[in-house]
């Protein structure tokens, strides 16, 4: 390529970079966006948890909650290799690594008593224990609890006696009905230590309180009070808490970033390609074609386009491709207008005349000479369109038009915010499920807008301070 065919040489870009570096907010935005993009790209490595795996006792943990690294119930048998799904990952991973490991679990024994509670609406009328014996009152110790049989959910109560209204955790029904509950009692002196020695492919020994345990041993996570592997405590921290399903909020945000950023990037590329090409053709053709093409843009500009996107997603299958097309189709108008303006001013420059006199075809002039010269505008629009598209996609997810990918609904930030909103609880006690996804999204949009504004100022100082 000869010199005049090059897109703007290093000079203006280097200058723009210099100007951008002086803009502290834009640089902060750049840093945030880069961190987000990296986290999203390497979500599998960065995210502390798999956002699709959870244990039932992990639900609605507040930010910073710690829990032992266990699965619901796991099974070990001395002399055998356990199945992957039966054990926590650290045990499974340690099995093949050629080292001996020792795992100590402090386990408490619990005693389960069956209760039959007769209810009238939400009011307790009668409590019966073993052998239909009527109980005057069930008092629960500090570690005791009640749970609904079958459903497995906990009943939040300190005591149970006839005449009281059943507290949270039990769905109210009308009329007389019977609640089958379990009274789980923790015996304070029932603490035992279980040792599991493993490595070299099998569990070599299982001992309970110093004595060898023969055969299969089932350990329920809720009975484990402490866990040490090779002397170190095995714990997990949910920095931002977990949601109603027990999924780690931070991990969901990171995986959501992947979806949101991907949608933003692809839809922006679609829209910019359309916009740049349309604007370039219109500007270069000039005359009546130009007028007609721009009038069409004007008409489309007046459309309530988000409604049209909704119609599109209503009418067609809600998959990613339709979403890309829908969002891409509405965002191309502004770049088309701006690029046209740029082309109009560039096409009068000498190097275009030179190319025309050399007999270059119009198409070639457009693609090789004119469009590269609009790159500054394109860069600015890319950074400003991505947040707009992310916002729109999240908006659609939020109102319920969740897009499916591979048959499963994708969890973009908008969907996270919506589920967080629904999970708040009557006093807003589960605030973290809403606040953190919302904050992540706002921070990203904030940063991208700052970066876009900074880039616009840097690339076109004359525009500074507009809007």
């Amino acid at each position: 390529m000869s010199a005049d065919l090059d897109p703007p040489s290093d000079g203006p870009w280097a200058q723009a970079w210099k100007r951008l570096r002086r803009n502290a907010m834009a640089i902060a935005g750049l840093v945030v966006v880069s961190v987000m993009a990296l986290a999203a790209t390497f979500a599998g490595t960065v995210a502390p948890f798999d956002p699709r795996i959870s244990e039932s006792w992990e639900t609605s943990l507040p930010p910073g909650a710690r829990h032992l690294d266990l699965v619901n119930e796991f099974v070990v048998t001395a002399g055998q290799a356990p199945r992957e799904r039966d054990v926590p990952p650290w045990l499974h991973d340690g099995l093949g690594d050629g080292h001996d490991h020792a795992c100590e679990l402090d386990v408490v024994a619990e005693e389960v008593k069956q209760l039959r509670v007769t209810m009238d609406g939400a009011k307790v009328t009668k409590i019966q224990g073993d052998g239909a014996r009527t109980l005057a009152k069930v008092e629960l110790g500090p570690e005791d609890h009640l749970r609904v049989k079958d459903a497995g959910t906990r009943i939040e109560a300190k005591a149970l006696e006839p005449g009281m209204a059943l507290p949270e955790g039990v769905p109210a029904k009308t009329g007389r009905w019977v609640l089958f509950a379990e009274w789980v009692r923790i015996a304070p002196d029932a603490k035992r230590t279980v040792r599991v020695a493993y490595g070299y492919g099998t569990v070599s020994a299982v001992t309970v309180a110093g004595a060898a345990h023969a055969g299969e041993m089932r350990i329920r996570a809720e009975h484990v009070r402490d866990l040490r592997v090779d002397g170190a405590r095995k714990e997990h921290v949910h920095v931002l808490g977990t949601d109603l399903n027990g999924y780690d909020v931070l991990s969901r945000i990171i995986f959501g970033a992947r979806i949101s950023l991907l949608v933003g990037l692809v839809a922006t590329l679609v829209s910019l390609s359309i916009g740049v090409l349309y604007g370039a053709v219109s500007g270069y053709a000039g005359g009546r074609t130009d007028v007609l093409m721009m009038r069409a843009v004007d008409v489309l500009y007046a459309m309530p386009y988000i409604f049209l996107v909704i119609v599109l997603l209503t009418v067609f299958d809600r998959n990613l491709i339709v979403l890309f097309v829908a969002l891409g189709l509405v965002q191309w108008l502004t770049p088309a207008r701006v690029v046209r303006g740029q082309i109009l001013s560039i096409k009068r420059r000498e190097f275009v005349d030179a190319a025309v006199t050399l007999g270059t075809t119009p198409w070639r002039i457009l693609v090789r000479h004119l469009i590269p010269n609009t790159m500054g505008v394109v860069v600015v629009f890319t950074t400003l369109t991505i947040p707009a598209v992310i916002l729109e996609e999240s908006f659609l997810s939020f109102i319920g038009l969740t897009v499916k990918f591979g048959g499963e609904p994708i969890d973009s930030w908008g969907a996270l915010v919506d589920s967080g909103r629904n999970a708040l609880g009557v006093n807003g006690e589960r605030w973290w499920m809403l606040v953190f996804p919302g904050a992540a999204m706002s921070l990203t949009l904030f940063s991208m807008n700052f970066l876009g504004d900074g880039l616009r100022d840097a690339l076109d100082p004359r525009q500074k301070g507009r809007g």
Partner: protein, 363 residues
């Protein structure tokens, strides 16, 4: 001026026609039959249904009939999900709450935005300027489907100062209040001399200003007293627009204050208030006026979210539900109606713009 308005007016039906055609074509392009989706019906009933909705005729005829009904009778046809309700019924029930919410939000946004932006520009680099601009930048970036639930969390769930959701239909005084406020402002500014006496633009502006502020204050007070359910939705909806308007107003004012003609006005010995009110405001407000068109689109779009969050029975919520349950007739009707509202509002904005900027008017 007349020709300018006329040209804008001719634009309106074209935009609407394109909108209806586009939406209709999209719906017709839907794969499968809308009735085949969730209900299994006999051939006979299906034929009946198709006849009822005119689906047995070719698409172009259907389109013609639909357009004819809409234009002549303003009839958007029957709903596909609710057997005994027409689209008109649903819209008639929903338009009130939506308009009320939108009016509240626009009044709040304009009043707050203009005031904050003007003060920010006149007292550039003051503490107020920095604080309000930071708040505005933040307000612009936080989507309203985040703001809304967070406001609910803070004010309704934790603090319990305001209701979580719902809508009090008894309350629809607000538009009347706004007009009354404008009227009061007009009378008040008659007495107050804005700068030297006589013909000036100051009065119109002072009036608009006072009117907006009065409307905002009275609406907030009334909302608190009578219908607190509307406060959080209105604030949620208004926030991004107030932020954007504040920034536009500040930038516009700063640009105008730096103009030679403002220096000329100062050199005449006019007071700073007169300089700002009479000489700077008119130019400085223009970017805000051109933003009002997109802002109304934004308010309508935002109402989809806000009505969902706060369970307000407006057309926004109906639209989302219609989209989710594929009630095509209702979707079509609401798109056309919103399109009409937008086009009319944009026309009004254009006229106001022409009124403010003589160079456009006499073009």
């Amino acid at each position: 001026m007349g020709r300018y308005v006329l040209r804008r007016l001719l634009w309106t039906p074209l935009v609407l026609l394109v909108l209806v055609t586009l939406t209709f074509a999209l719906i017709k392009a839907a794969p499968g039959n809308p009735f085949a989706m969730d209900r299994v019906v006999s051939e006979e009933i299906r034929a009946q249904l198709e006849a009822r909705y005119g689906l047995d005729k070719p698409a172009i005829v259907q389109f013609g009939q639909y357009l004819g009904r809409v234009v002549t009778d303003f009839d958007f046809g029957p709903s596909m999900k609710f057997k005994d309700r027409t689209v008109n019924d649903i819209i008639a029930n929903g338009i009130g709450p939506t308009m009320l919410l939108g009016a509240c939000a626009v009044i709040l946004a304009v009043a707050i935005g203009l005031t904050a932006g003007t003060i920010g520009a006149v007292r550039q680099n003051s503490v107020f300027d920095h604080a309000s601009m930071s708040a505005a930048t933040f307000g612009m970036s936080v989507p309203n489907f985040v703001t809304g639930p967070v406001l609910v969390l803070v004010f309704a769930l934790s603090w319990k100062a305001l209701p979580v959701s719902g809508f009090d239909p008894s309350f629809s005084l607000l538009p009347a209040l706004g007009i009354a406020a404008l009227h009061v402002a007009w009378r008040v500014t008659e007495r107050i001399r804005v700068g030297p006496a006589g013909f000036s633009w100051g009065r119109e502006f002072a009036c608009l200003w006072l009117g907006l502020l009065l409307a905002a204050v009275t609406s907030v007070v009334t909302l608190l007293a009578r219908s607190p359910t509307l406060i959080l939705p209105a604030v949620t909806l208004a926030l991004p627009f107030a932020s954007r308007i504040a920034r536009l107003m500040r930038a516009g004012m700063l640009e105008v204050i730096g103009q030679d003609y403002v220096r000329t006005a100062r050199a005449k010995g006019l007071s700073e208030t007169t300089v700002v009110v009479r000489h700077a405001l008119k130019g400085g407000i223009l970017p805000v006026v051109s933003y009002l068109g997109p802002a109304i689109t934004g308010v309508l779009t935002g109402s989809l979210v806000v009505e969902k969050i706060f369970a307000i029975p407006g057309i926004g919520r109906e639209f989302v539900e219609a989209a989710l349950s594929r009630d095509y007739m209702l979707v079509l009707g609401i798109v056309v109606l919103d399109g009409l509202l937008l086009v009319l509002f944009n026309l009004a904005v254009d006229v106001v713009y022409g009124f403010l900027d003589p160079r456009i008017r006499y073009e």
